[in-house]
Subunit: 185 residues, 2 copies
DNA sequence: TCACATCTAGACCAAACGGTCTAGTGGCGT
DNA sequence: ACGCCACTAGACCGTTTGGTCTAGATGTGA
């Protein structure tokens, strides 16, 4: 993650996403984020008047969009539904391995840590639904009927979230890699 | 949750388990726990010299054992593997609904919030493995070969953890209730 | 009834928290 | 050259954090 040539705002979002993914919302201090991003407090509250929660929302959005990019990339080169989904899982598994096998799903880590905040939960739901919608659209495009496609996309997300948790506990991406086998058995 | 006749130590564990499940490790303050359990600080550090992390470990253990009890109960009255697993999911879904559709898996909520602590992660792994082992034993006892049984038990846990997350996001236990359909399709 | 261990009780502490505020800096349009 | 505005910079604030410590209550066996 090169934060070199990025603006202060961009650095803030990137660093937040990374730290929040690993430690959760309440697990990171604002000062940690500021120090890692090399941004003074004044800048934070200039770009994100809402403070920490504002920043977390932006970080979750960014992470959500990156996931959509992964889905797009995976299906662009895919010859079949199975192919596309397998690629998604392998890409995520690889990222998981790269980042010390320590990071959780961005949405879960960032948003569920603060469930007392309705806005957070709504955002999580919305991002999840975007992922499901994106996946479903590709699958429908490839010929599956919409209802089955929605179910498949939801099934994939459930497996992915569950596998992500197991992967963290076991410090191994195996569970993520074995998702396609579970889904298309 | 009647904390009436319990000892201070028991109240501490019960209240911690409940609060941690909802807010995560860093999301609850020691003072919140103490106030809810009506236990002074001195008592905490008498019973749990290790402080908050010590308490969280005990809470996770207690929650882990309760899950084993659910598995036991479900298989005791089950006529088939499918039956037992369906009962497990329904029991968990019911509990989820009762507790405001807000609580996550105890192990995930309690332990993953503090992944910088190796001891925490190990404990999470150990509890997960206990659940998998318990389930697998029942399934083997019912005639399935051990390898397939292990895979089935792991598959169930992955689906359960994933569904739990989705359930929180959507404030609905549907995803948990539909696990058997996904597993035995 | 006295000694002792267990447990309760909460005042107290340094550190860290998220957030506010004022001052200053840099670059761009005119 | 100047004024303006986006942004940087960090001192500072009240609150809350997890944790320590001393004092006292309670029960139990000799």
């Amino acid at each position: 993650m090169t934060t070199e040539e990025l603006s202060a705002k961009e650095r803030l979002v990137a660093v937040s996403a990374a730290l929040l993914r690993r430690h959760g919302y309440h697990g990171v201090g604002l000062n940690d984020i500021l120090a890692a991003a090399k941004v003074p407090k004044g800048s934070l509250y200039h770009h994100f008047p809402g403070g920490k929660s504002d920043l977390a929302m932006a970080a979750a959005d960014a992470a959500g969009k990156e996931m959509v990019r992964i889905i797009d990339d995976s299906f662009q080169t895919a010859g079949s539904v199975e192919d596309g989904i397998t690629t998604i899982c392998h890409k995520i598994a690889k990222l998981f391995d790269i980042f010390d096998r320590a990071d959780g799903c961005p949405v879960t880590s960032v948003l569920f840590d603060a469930p007392e905040n309705t806005e957070f939960r709504e955002k999580a739901k919305q991002i999840f639904d975007t992922w499901i919608g994106t996946t479903r659209d590709y699958v429908v495009e490839m010929g599956m009927d919409p209802d089955r496609a929605t179910d498949l996309a939801e099934h994939l997300l459930v497996l992915l979230e569950g596998a992500w948790i197991m992967a963290r506990a076991r410090q191994s991406s195996d569970m993520i890699r074995s998702i396609p086998a579970r889904l298309f058995r």
